[in-house]
Symmetry: C2
Subunit: 290 residues, 2 copies
């Protein structure tokens, strides 16, 4: 593959700050560039090379469903494209990737709008990690006197960026360590998270710390809701999800002798802890389908 593609793939693998939707759209951008620039003598050779690109991108971040889903959607539409001439085929393949990114963006916006409309003035919401979907929810809460309790989200503290974004919109924001989530739930009206993936039964794959948050919400008697586009749903055929472990050095632990430092990035919250799934299709008490 080209250096540009390899650089895009490496960036996708290394990114710890953007959520799954944003990275899926980034992967589509890598595919659009590959469609335009991958050397090929004819459309058949380009198809073969792009199929390889798609396969590698789809497998880059196994916990994040929308990457593989949107890449698969792209491959499916590509198969239906006419490919008589190389130039038009390149442009059409790139356009398909850009269209899918726009569909994903619109779905996220619609899901966020469905979540925000149910959050009234004076409400306190408890959120974990950083999600482009939750940022879109915050955008819609500006001016509504909403209070946000946001976890910092170890190891890389991306919750701080979520807190800064919400405070910039005028929300009243309290930042807490992940360990304080037990008490915080008792102060909140609603726990709301994004997702890296939804299992076919509605279980939520999201940043580590989401399961403790959902348990704390249940214990405090407040609903735990997940807001995401339907591209997050893992097809049943994919089987169990791999919860990615990252470099233990991200925890910044000093040398402790023979101690193993573990940095599993995601956890899995069972569907029975989820009060509602909010997608572009609306608010639902049953899990969405892809």
């Amino acid at each position: 593959m080209s250096d540009a593609f390899e650089a895009g793939l490496a960036a996708l693998r290394a990114d710890r700050s953007r959520g799954a939707s944003a990275l899926a759209r980034f992967a589509l951008g890598v595919l659009a560039d590959a469609a335009r620039e991958t050397p090929a003598r004819d459309p058949a050779e380009l198809r073969a090379r792009l199929a390889d690109c798609a396969d590698r991108l789809a497998r880059a971040r196994p916990s994040m469903a929308p990457i593989a889903n949107l890449v698969a959607a792209w491959s499916g539409r590509l198969a239906a494209l006419p490919a008589a001439e190389l130039g038009p085929f390149r442009r059409a393949a790139a356009r398909v990737a850009e269209d899918l990114a726009e569909e994903s963006r619109r779905a996220v916006g619609a899901a966020a709008a469905h979540a925000a409309v149910r959050i009234g003035p004076g409400a306190t919401i408890l959120c974990h990690s950083l999600s482009s979907t939750l940022l879109a929810v915050f955008d819609r809460l500006a001016g509504r006197r909403v209070r946000l309790i946001q976890t910092e989200s170890r190891p890389l503290y991306e919750g701080r960026a979520a807190a800064r974004h919400a405070a910039g919109l005028g929300l009243d924001v309290v930042l807490i360590s992940d360990a304080q989530v037990g008490l915080a739930a008792a102060e909140a009206d609603l726990a709301l998270v994004g997702a890296d993936a939804l299992m076919p039964d509605g279980a939520v794959v999201n940043k580590a710390g989401t399961l403790p948050l959902a348990l704390a919400a249940r214990a405090a008697g407040i609903p735990f809701q997940v807001c995401c586009e339907r591209f997050k749903v893992r097809p049943a055929a994919w089987g169990p999800v791999a919860l990615e472990a990252m470099d233990p050095a991200e925890l910044g632990t000093p040398d402790l002798g023979p101690v193993t430092v573990r940095n599993v990035y995601f956890d899995l919250t069972p569907a029975d802890l989820v009060a509602a799934w909010i997608t572009e299709a609306g608010f639902s008490e049953t899990p969405p389908k892809l």
Copy 2:
């Protein structure tokens, strides 16, 4: 008061690394020194000045029951001491403080022994924060092929010291971020914590993150046990517990604009999540009495 007493009181207030039992014994040491050195013309004046010392120490760390309990026990024994002559009264008052510290130390050792005897070879235990009682449990597990999953315990990461101590004893130790506690519970056989205080009904005041750990243990179907000396039990007359908040700067958060950083050090785990209370009196499925 003397400079030495004020310095001891300030150290008691500022200490973030030692648990409640260790700090209660430190407070008794401050009292022993005060008994020996506080200027007074006669035993009656010394009694009055020591009563003031005791009162200030007892109120220094409101979430940590053993400090107030052991100081109250000291005051009670002091009231029964003959005080005809100043010199013998000073020595007796200091001796009472040292005796109580030794009683506390023995109680912690006995509680740890009762906990350790039930942890068999091959077991995996999940622990949070740093507790001198848990270190004493680890000491008794050396050589038993026990695996420890230990949280780092934000904000000051005192879980790292617990991990280092256990690894030095030959335990197989995995250190995790507090956010990973949800998944970790599913791998463990037992969740075990110390306590800063026990409420009269058996609810557990301990480092923030304990409640999420207990909820994760319940969800994973493993017992959540608390091991501590009975000096941790708060008398009912004390009423509700104040959960101390510490300097937000401990979280190391960069400037995020108008975001409030919160650093509540403790949380409260309800008694119905506690499978057993292990004290110097043994293993019990009902809450201990002081």
